[in-house]
Structure formats: structure tokens, C-alpha cells
């Protein structure tokens, strides 16, 4: 409260333009006849007073003060006619700005003076919903059905305890029996894979059977029942029944 009135007054203004508009209104003249020079003097006087009471002024106030002082000097003592025109245009622009701000103030007053919805005028408080939702329809398509089936099965399966896959393994005994039974009917060399059991689709079971059959073949060959031959590394292993008469032939080839 030790601060003088001016402090409070300046703070009541929304920036320098607001103060200018207030001062212009105080001139009580038409916009066209407003004295820019008087306006500048009044503005600068207010700012001087504010400075005297050590009121801190924001930058935009100081910028406006400097600009107004410059404008006043150009209006009073133009150095050449072109500059005078320039200064008058700037002064006109300032009055235009003040007039526009004044119009907007009046527009705000117009709005503020109207009866407002929710303040003086009221709308229906409890709007009625006139939409009726028919929820009897079903939103379901085939992809959703199939996904549901797959999801249900996957979940059910995942929940079962883990059981290792049951393997049907072809034993060496099995292989010996099959080899012995089949080899007699062979007229000539045949690949070892011909002696595998039929209907083996699982690759693991097939490899196991191949191993058993090879062991069985080696065993049988050792006993002299068959001959084995492989022409190159990783090539097919060939099998045929032993024929004593041609026994020399492999030796010839080998030599």
C-alpha cells in the first residue's frame, strides 16, 4: 500500500496498447481527430511517473515508449517531406490498431451482454436418447471361427504334460530278417535303401532304419551271404547275393 496509485494503475493495463487506448478515450474526440502527439506525451508522462516510483517496466512498454518518442520527433520536425509522409502513415496505422482493439472490446462487451446458455438460458437437462440399439445380430465370420478352433486346440495341447514322441525303431534283428528274406530274390546289384521297411515318412525313423539295415548288411556280408559295394564316397551302397562262380571278378576289378 506504500506504492502509489500509479503502480496499481499500470498493472491494470493489458500492455501498452491498452493504456494508449485508455488515454485516447480520455481525449474524448473522434478517431480521425485524435492527437497522436498529445497521446505520446501522455503515454510518456505515465511511464515517467511509473519510473519515479521504481516500478519495473516490462520490455514491451519500453519498446513502445521509444517508438512513440521517435514517432513524435518525426511528426514535429521532419527532415524531409518523404519522412513526414512516412511518419503520418505510421501514426495512422497506430490509430487503426487502437480502433480495432476498441472494436474488439465492444464485441466482447456485446457477447458479455448476451444471455448465455447455462447461465440465464437453459437447455434440456436430461437429453433423451432416441436411438435404439438392435443387438440381436451376430458379428462373427469364418476366419474368426477358424482362429477360435486353432486357439482352443493349441491351448488344450499346451496344457497336456510333455510326452516324448513314440518312435517305431527298426532293429538290427528286423533288418537282418528283412534282408535275408529279400536278398534271395535279387537278380543283380540293388541299392541298400531298397531293403528299408515301407511307409517310413518320419525322417528320424528313416535314418534309424537305414543305420540298422547297414549294420545288418555288414553282418550278412561278413557271413558271406552277400556282397557290398560303394563306388565313391557317399555314393549309394549296392548289395547283391554272393555267387561263388564270379568270386574272382571283384578282385580283377580291384586290380
Amino acid at each position: 500500500m506504500t506504492q502509489p496509485v500509479m503502480h496499481l494503475r499500470l498493472e491494470g493495463f493489458e500492455g501498452p496498447l491498452d493504456l494508449l487506448l485508455d488515454l485516447a478515450r480520455a481525449q474524448k474526440v473522434d478517431l480521425e481527430r485524435i492527437s497522436i502527439i498529445a497521446l505520446v506525451d501522455q503515454f510518456l508522462a505515465v511511464l515517467d511517473q511509473a519510473r519515479r516510483v521504481r516500478l519495473e517496466l516490462a520490455a514491451d512498454w519500453l519498446v513502445m515508449a521509444a517508438w512513440l518518442a521517435w514517432l513524435k520527433s518525426r511528426l514535429l520536425v521532419p527532415q524531409d517531406p518523404a519522412e513526414e509522409l512516412d511518419a503520418e502513415a505510421l501514426a495512422a496505422a497506430l490509430t487503426d490498431r487502437l480502433a480495432e482493439l476498441d472494436r474488439m472490446r465492444l464485441a466482447a462487451a456485446f457477447l458479455g451482454g448476451r444471455q448465455q446458455l447455462g447461465r440465464e438460458i437453459f437447455a434440456r437437462g436430461a437429453a433423451e436418447n432416441l436411438r435404439v440399439e438392435d443387438r440381436s445380430g451376430l458379428n462373427a465370420d469364418l476366419p474368426a471361427l477358424l482362429q477360435a478352433y486353432a486357439a482352443a486346440r493349441r491351448r488344450a495341447l499346451a496344457r497336456r504334460p510333455y510326452a516324448p514322441k513314440h518312435r517305431k525303431l527298426w532293429t538290427v534283428q528286423d533288418a537282418l530278417a528283412r534282408l535275408g528274406g529279400m536278398v534271395g530274390a535279387l537278380p543283380d546289384w540293388a541299392t541298400l535303401t531298397r531293403f528299408l521297411p515301407e511307409g517310413l515318412t518320419d525322417p528320424v525313423e528313416r535314418r534309424a532304419a537305414l543305420a540298422s539295415t547297414l549294420i545288418a548288411a555288414l553282418e550278412t556280408a561278413r557271413g558271406g551271404g552277400i556282397e557290398l559295394r560303394q563306388e565313391r564316397a557317399f555314393g549309394p551302397i549296392l548289395v547283391r547275393r554272393s555267387t561263388p562262380m564270379e568270386e574272382a571278378l571283384p578282385d580283377v576289378r580291384a586290380a
Partner: protein, 207 residues
């Protein structure tokens, strides 16, 4: 409807009845207030807005009578008063919006299992889903007309057998059950572990 203006024994509204202009003003206030309220408004609350000496109940009773038959009528609801559009206008005013519902996941899975394994009993469905099945789920499917009973299984307890309906085919845009992809295309069933209770639905295109 109930208040007779000349009834001298009418206790609360008596003085109001004596001043028709005041009562008319009170009627205006009450109507506007009920309109503006966001929920049914109690007579006591209306009373606060009325000029002194006018009884809210008498005003509201009068308003009930004068608005009866109007497109928007005063009604008494939930301990208060509110405006409601007249029932006879409902057909002209209401817009029906179709909001198709999604089947819950459990129902969709159950339906899929019935489709693939039909005819199938509830215990079998539970076995295939690996989870218990509520009666409500079956009933929901029944209600939508998607499944129907297909006799009983001749095992102890004689459980009902379930199968899908023509409505089911329609819903999913199928010509017949044979249009369903084969089960093996959907799930990798480990061969020996899961003995299908039924032969594959995909395999037998009946209907």
C-alpha cells in the same frame, strides 16, 4: 386434474389458488425447471424456485394435467418429476441402430469345436478345449440358433449330442460343412496323442 380452483378446503395451495397470476407464474417456473434439470427433480427442489406461498405439489399436479397428451409429458419417476416424450411418438422418433455383437471367446471356440467334431457331447467338448464349459455358453449358442441337439450318446449318463444348424452355415457363409478347411490345416495335432473322438468334419461333406 386434481385441483379445483374453487375448492376452499385445499390446504397447501389455498393462497396460491387465490392469486391465479402467481400460480400461473409458478407453473412457468416449474415447467422450465423440470426441463432444465439433468435428472428427475424432487418437489422440494422445485419449491425452492417458486415464489413464496405457492405449493410445489399443487403446481406439479397441475402441470401433470396440462402436459398430458402433449408430445412431451410430465411424468413422475424415481421420486421426482421429469419430461418424457409421449410413448405414441416412439415409432416416429426412435432410430434403430444395428449393433451386432461379438460372440465371447469361449462361445466361439465351443462353436468351432462343435462344427469340427459334431455330433459331440459336452464332456467331449471340454476334453477337446481342455477346459470346463459352462451351461450358459451352450445356451447362448442355442439362443443364436447356431447349434441344436442331435440325440443322445449311448454311454452312461446318455449325454446330449450337439451339432451345428443351417443358421450356422448361413452365418459363416458356408455351403456345407465340407467347406470348412480340414483340421490338419489349422492345427498340428500330434499323431498318437490325441485321438479324435469323431472322424474329421472336413472329411465328410454331408449337406
Amino acid at each position: 386434474m386434481s385441483e379445483q380452483p374453487d375448492a376452499p378446503e385445499a390446504a397447501p395451495g389455498a393462497d396460491a389458488a387465490a392469486d391465479p397470476a402467481l400460480f400461473a407464474h409458478a407453473l412457468r417456473i416449474a415447467e422450465a425447471l423440470v426441463f432444465a434439470s439433468d435428472r428427475p427433480i424432487a418437489a422440494a427442489k422445485v419449491q425452492q424456485a417458486l415464489p413464496p406461498g405457492v405449493d410445489a405439489r399443487a403446481v406439479l399436479t397441475s402441470l401433470l394435467a396440462t402436459t398430458a397428451g402433449r408430445p412431451v409429458e410430465l411424468v413422475e419417476v424415481g421420486g421426482g418429476y421429469a419430461f418424457r416424450t409421449a410413448a405414441d411418438l416412439a415409432p416416429a422418433l426412435t432410430r434403430v441402430v444395428e449393433v451386432p455383437r461379438k460372440l465371447p471367446r469361449v462361445a466361439m471356440e465351443t462353436l468351432a469345436i462343435i462344427a469340427y467334431h459334431q455330433p459331440v457331447t459336452r464332456p467331449e467338448i471340454e476334453e477337446i478345449r481342455g477346459a470346463a464349459l459352462s451351461q450358459a455358453t451352450l445356451e447362448a449358442l442355442l439362443e443364436h440358433g447356431l447349434i441344436a441337439p442331435r440325440g443322445r450318446k449311448e454311454v452312461p449318463g446318455r449325454p446330449s449330442l450337439w451339432g451345428t444348424t443351417p443358421r450356422f452355415l448361413e452365418q459363416f457363409g458356408l455351403q456345407g460343412l465340407g467347406d470348412l478347411p480340414r483340421r490338419e490345416e489349422l492345427v498340428n495335432e500330434p499323431g498318437g496323442l490325441f485321438q479324435a473322438p469323431r472322424l474329421q468334419a472336413g472329411g465328410q461333406p454331408q449337406g
